[in-house]
């Protein structure tokens, strides 16, 4: 089979992944008490999908999932943050080659690697790109959007660190380990 195009499985993963991302982002959020900032579980799921299905799936799930969630539940897509969800999914997905989750193992070394990558990626996304786009498009006060980015980004990092790691280790356990079969002599 040619690998040039997206495989059918990746396409379906993008579709279903976006739907799950939208639902989690709407229903499985836990308010922290600070207005407009939530403990948003959908980013843990995004990290899982990015590692399992690669950067293109991760990026598109972030992009499509976030745009659909905003559109159907809140009336209008918030483009500056939608774009950042896509970038975060894509960049975390780049680590999927290094963390071969299909091998059925998620050792401490990979857990650390995964978390370092997700923290760096999300720092770039939420602390730099999202507020800058907000300032460019909506000309909102700089200190306000940077604070929003800081709080939202910090929370998302925590979500991915806790929930993303948990999901990945559960997923790894559900795969058959490579080399788990022995020859019966």
């Amino acid at each position: 089979m040619k690998r040039k195009n997206l495989s059918i499985k990746t396409i379906v993963a993008i579709g279903i992944g976006s739907a799950v991302f939208a639902i989690l982002g709407r229903f499985a959020v836990i308010p922290t008490g600070v207005p407009n900032t939530n403990f948003d579980t959908s980013y843990g799921f995004l990290a899982l999908m990015a590692i399992v299905f690669g950067p293109i799936a991760g990026g598109l799930i972030g992009l499509i999932g976030h745009a659909l969630k905003d559109a159907i539940f809140y009336g209008t897509p918030w483009w500056s943050w939608v774009v950042v969800s896509g970038i975060v999914g894509f960049l975390i997905g780049l680590a999927s080659k290094k963390i071969n989750i299909e091998a059925g193992k998620f050792p401490v070394k990979n857990i650390i690697l995964f978390n370092v990558i997700q923290i760096v990626v999300q720092a770039i996304g939420w602390f730099v790109i999202a507020p800058s786009l907000d300032i460019f498009i909506y000309v909102e006060p700089a200190n306000k959007v940077y604070l929003q980015g800081l709080v939202a980004g910090g929370l998302n990092m925590a979500v991915v660190a806790v929930l993303g790691t948990l999901l990945l280790s559960i997923y790894a356990k559900s795969r058959s380990q490579s080399g788990s079969l022995t020859k019966d002599l």
């Binding site: 195009n5 997206l6 059918i8 499985k9 396409i11 379906v12 993963a13 993008i14 579709g15 279903i16 992944g17 976006s18 739907a19 799950v20 939208a22 639902i23 989690l24 709407r26 229903f27 499985a28 836990i30 922290t32 207005p35 407009n36 403990f39 579980t41 843990g44 799921f45 899982l48 598109l60 499509i64 999932g65 659909l68 559109a71 159907i72 539940f73 809140y74 009336g75 209008t76 897509p77 483009w79 498009i137 909506y138 000309v139 909102e140 006060p141 700089a142 200190n143 306000k144 604070l147 806790v162 929930l163 948990l166 999901l167 559960i170 997923y171 559900s174």
Partner: protein, 276 residues
């Protein structure tokens, strides 16, 4: 379903009759203009125009009121936050300061600040009716066909169609799992303390994700069996040919785009400054 969401509303109106492609292109033009401009005159015109389109579309205000209320609430908080964080932002942008009410220190209310915040609000108001209209007047299947038509690969368009198709299913799965976990005493609502809530949320999310991964397997097998992705192109059941009204609408929107950009940028500044 307990939670309301925006979805396609079947109706006979000129807006519904436009093809999905036209509506998608118009929506993209609209979003671009609304993002780029900060000119009050352009924003006001766009706002009034979108209200007119809304009336033509025969969508009732009642049908989308829940989203509107949410957005109004959000805008109110946002406006308050802008004022708290930067009460002199307007002075910075427009370069003058007309004091309206004297309050200690930097929280003095100026006309510039009020004008700036009205503009921010107006900017959202120009996009919201357009976005809502686009969602409620475009059939989801036709939307995927339109994405393909404007150049997005059909594989990705199909992924979007799948997402739209499965959002209600996954919402139902989520509720089923949440209810069965609640029956076991695992509660995700406000009554639990925060750390416990997060842990309980995980016990709802994990089954949902694992069942969704199974779904991916099943659907991709079914699509593979039907030969999806074998050819370079694909036809869409819902795609419709262009009509005269589509071409007219597209011309009108292109004109709006050009004129708005000209009015906004001909003085070299995104803002309309009534103070100078």
């Amino acid at each position: 379903m307990a939670v309301e969401m925006l979805s396609y509303i079947e109706r006979k109106s000129p807006v519904h009759q436009l093809t999905g492609v036209t509506k998608l292109v118009c929506f993209l033009i609209w979003s671009t203009v609304a993002m780029l401009t900060y000119d009050t005159r352009v924003l006001l015109f766009l706002f009034l125009f979108s209200i007119c389109v809304f009336i033509v579309s025969k969508v009732k205000l009642k049908e989308v009121a829940f989203v509107l209320l949410f957005i109004l609430f959000f805008l109110m908080i946002n406006n308050l936050a802008i004022y708290v964080f930067s009460p002199q932002e307007g002075v910075k942008i427009y370069g003058t300061s007309h004091v309206l009410v004297e309050i200690s220190g930097r929280y003095t209310i100026t006309i510039e600040q009020l004008f700036y915040q009205i503009n921010v609000t107006l900017k959202y108001f120009t996009v919201i009716p357009a976005a809502i209209l686009f969602i409620v007047t475009t059939n989801p299947s036709e939307f995927a066909a339109s994405l393909n038509r404007i150049g997005v690969s059909y594989r990705i368009s199909y992924a979007v169609a799948l997402a739209l198709r499965y959002i209600p299913d996954i919402q139902r799965d989520f509720r089923t799992i949440a209810l069965s976990q609640q029956a076991r005493g695992i509660d995700m609502s406000r009554k639990e303390k925060l750390p416990r809530r997060i842990k309980n949320a995980a016990s709802i999310i994990i089954p949902l994700i694992l069942s969704s991964l199974d779904k991916i397997e099943m659907i991709s097998n079914a699509m593979e069996l039907r030969g999806f992705g074998k050819n370079k192109q694909r036809t869409w059941y819902r795609a419709r040919p262009f009509q005269k009204i589509d071409i007219l609408t597209l011309i009108l929107f292109t004109l709006i785009l050009l004129v708005s950009l000209y009015v906004t940028f001909h003085d070299g500044n995104r803002f309309y400054n009534p103070f100078s």
